[in-house]
Amino acid sequence: MPDTLLEKLWNLHEVTDLGGRDSLVHIDRIFLHERTGSIALRGLEQAGCGIRAPRRVFCTMDHIVDTRPGRGDITLVPGGREFIEATRHSARKAGIHLFDIDDSRQGIVHVVAAENGIVLPGMSAVCPDSHTCTLGALGALAWGIGSTEAEHAMATSSLRVSRPRSMRVNFHGETAPGVSAKDMILHLIAKFGSRAGRGYAVEFAGPAIRALSMDGRFTICNMAVEMGAFTGMIAPDESTFAYVRDLSFAPRGPLAQQAQAHWRELRSDDGAEFDRELEVDCAQIAPSVTWGANPEQLADINGVVPEPEAFEDRQKSLAARQALAYMDLEPGTPLRSIRIDAAFIGSCTNNRIDDLRTAANYLRNRKKAPWVQAMCVPGSSAVKRLAEAEGLDEIFRAAGFEWREAGCSLCFHAGGESFGGRRVISSTNRNFQGRQGPGARTHLGSPLTVAASACRGYISAAEDSR
C-alpha cells in the first residue's frame, strides 16, 4: 500500500496504539524558550518529576530578551527578567542544553533548532510554541503544544496524540519574479481560509515547493498553523540533505550516510491517498499584503480593501467589518495608498539569511521614508553574524533601518517595546488585534514588500520603484 509522508512519520514514532485515532508517540526532540519553557520546567520540578532524556531537550532565550544592542538580562518586558533568570536556573539544574543570551547559538527557537541540525528529517519534535510547525520543512513531524504537554513530553519522552488527517497542497506552475514563499503561503491561507487546515497535517508539495530554498520552505511551514493545521511538512530532498550536512548536531561520517539513506524514504509514495488535496496555481500569485486582523484577510498588492458585504459567508463578513474598524480602513482603498508608520523585518517566518539578503538587495542605495521607523531583527545570532560578514548590516543601517540582536522582538507584544497605535508593514505571521502592541495595525507581507514599503512610506511592491 502506498503511504503518505504523514503515515511514514507516524509509524516511525508510534509507541502504542491507544485506540480510536490516538497513539502514544515518541518525541525525539523537545524545545523550550524562556516565555513558556520556564513554567514547564518549574511545573515538573514541583511535581517531583525528572526529565527522562535531558540531552534531547533544548532551551533558548528568544521571546522576551531585549534585542537592542548591548543587551543583557534586563528587558523592557515587565517581569521579564524573572522569566530569563528562572529559565536559566531551571535549565541548568535539569541538565538540558541551554543557549543563553550570550551563547553563539542563541536565537529564535525554530530558527536555532533547524540551523544547528538539532531537528533533522524524520524526527518528531515539539515545543510549547505554536510555530513549531516551521520545522516540518525538514521533513520532520513537529508541532506546537501547551505547557502541560511539554511537561509530559519531558517526563516520558512521549505524548498522547490524536492522529491528524492528511492533506496535500500542490503548488504547481511558476511564480513571477518578486513573488516569494511568503506570498505563496499567504495566498493559500486566503484562498482556503484560516481554518482549512484544522485537524490536518499538511504536506506542501509540487514543483514550486521543490524550487524553494530551505529558508523559503521554513516560511511556508511556519504559517501552516495560521491555516489551523496540526502541522505542515515538506518531504526531504537534495536541498534538505545539503542543508543539514555538517550542521553541528547532525550525524557525521558513516552515520550521516546511514541517515541519508533512511531520509530518502521519507516522501509520499506515488498513488498515496490523502484525506484532502488542494491545488494552487503559482502563476496566480502576486505579492500580497493583509488588510485585516487575520492572515486570510489578504489582498493582492494591486487590489483594494474589500467591502465586508462582498463576503457570502456571514462570519467572514462580520470578521471583515470588525477588522476594518480596528485597522481604520475604508472599503475600496487601494492597498498602495495606505501610509505606514513602521516597517519590521523579523520573526521565525522571515528572518533567515535568504530573507535578509533579499531585503538588503532591494535596500542597497535606497533610504526609508523619513516618517517610517524601520527595523531588522535577525532570527538568530548565527544569522546575524553571517549577515554582518556579508555586509548586509551596513546596507540596512544606511537605509535607515535599526540593526538588532537576534530574538522575537516586535513580532509580538509582551508589554515591552511596542508598535502600539501605529500602522506597521511586517514580515511576521500574525496580524491579530494588538499582536504588535495595543492598537497596532499590522499588515503582513514578504521581506521584499516590507523593504519596498519602508522606502516609499506606503504599502508597496518592489516593482513600484523599478
Binding site: 515587565p78 524524520g122 501547551g146 504537554e149 547532525a250 509582551a414
Partner: protein, 212 residues
C-alpha cells in the same frame, strides 16, 4: 494534578460570538509577568475588560463586567476560539475566572488540547446551535441556565430541549477520570523503553549526536 472536571454542570452563559478570538485576547502577553499558573483570572480578557491595564477600571461595555455575567461559568463563543499563541495561560486564566465549559463552532487546536488537560470542557457545536442558545440565554441570563452533562454528552436548555454533542473518547475519559497524564503514560514505560531500543538501531543519530 487533579483536574476535577464537572461531569455535570449548570451555569450562567456569557456570549462572545465574534470569530477568531485568539489566546492573546484571552490573556494578553503583557499580563504574564510571573512564572506561575496561578491567579491569572484577573487578567482574563484584560484588553477588553478594563479601560486601562494599569488601574483596572472596568469597561462597562464588556460582557463579563455586566450583571450577572461576572459569575458566568460557560462561554458561548465564535468560530476558531483560542486560535493563535500556544500559551496555556489562556486556559489557566479562564479556569481561574471560573469558566467550566466553552461552546464554539471550532477551536484553535492547541487551545482545544490545553482545555482538556486542565479540566475545561471545550465543545464543538454548529454555529446555529450556538446562536439559538445565545438568544435564549440573553432573554434571562440568570434564569436561563445551561446544563451540560458530559456523561450523556448533551446540553439541556429551554424546558425539554437538548442538544447532543460529540467528544472524542480519549478526551472524554481524560475529562471524566481527571487522570494525571504523566502517571498514566508511565504505565507504558516498558513499551517506551522497548521502542527506543529498537529505534536506536534504526535511527542511532537520534540518540547519539555530537554536542554541538
Amino acid at each position: 494534578m487533579n483536574l476535577q472536571t464537572q461531569i455535570f454542570h449548570r451555569g450562567i452563559a456569557a456570549t462572545l460570538l465574534q470569530p477568531n478570538i485568539d489566546t492573546d485576547a484571552i490573556i494578553p502577553s503583557r499580563e504574564i509577568q510571573r512564572v506561575s499558573k496561578e491567579g491569572l483570572g484577573e487578567a482574563l480578557f484584560s484588553g477588553w475588560r478594563y479601560r486601562s491595564a494599569e488601574n483596572r477600571e472596568p469597561e462597562p461595555d464588556f460582557i463579563l463586567n455586566q450583571d450577572p455575567y461576572q459569575g458566568a461559568s460557560i462561554l458561548l463563543a465564535g468560530d476558531n476560539f483560542g486560535c493563535g499563541s500556544s500559551r496555556e495561560h489562556a486556559v489557566w486564566a479562564l479556569k481561574d475566572f471560573g469558566v467550566k465549559a466553552i461552546l464554539a463552532p471550532s477551536f484553535g487546536g492547541i487551545f482545544f488540547n490545553n482545555c482538556a488537560l486542565n479540566g475545561i470542557l471545550a465543545i464543538e457545536l454548529e454555529e446555529n446551535s450556538i446562536q439559538r442558545l445565545a438568544e435564549w440565554v440573553r432573554i434571562d441570563p440568570r434564569g436561563n441556565l445551561l446544563e451540560i452533562d458530559l456523561t450523556a454528552q448533551r446540553i439541556r436548555w429551554r424546558e425539554g430541549k437538548e442538544i447532543k454533542f460529540d467528544i472524542e473518547p480519549a478526551r472524554r475519559s481524560l475529562l471524566l477520570d481527571g487522570l494525571d497524564g504523566i502517571a498514566a503514560t508511565l504505565r507504558h514505560e516498558a513499551a517506551i523503553a522497548a521502542f527506543e531500543d529498537a529505534d536506536r538501531d534504526r535511527r542511532p543519530w537520534v540518540y547519539e549526536f555530537p554536542d554541538g
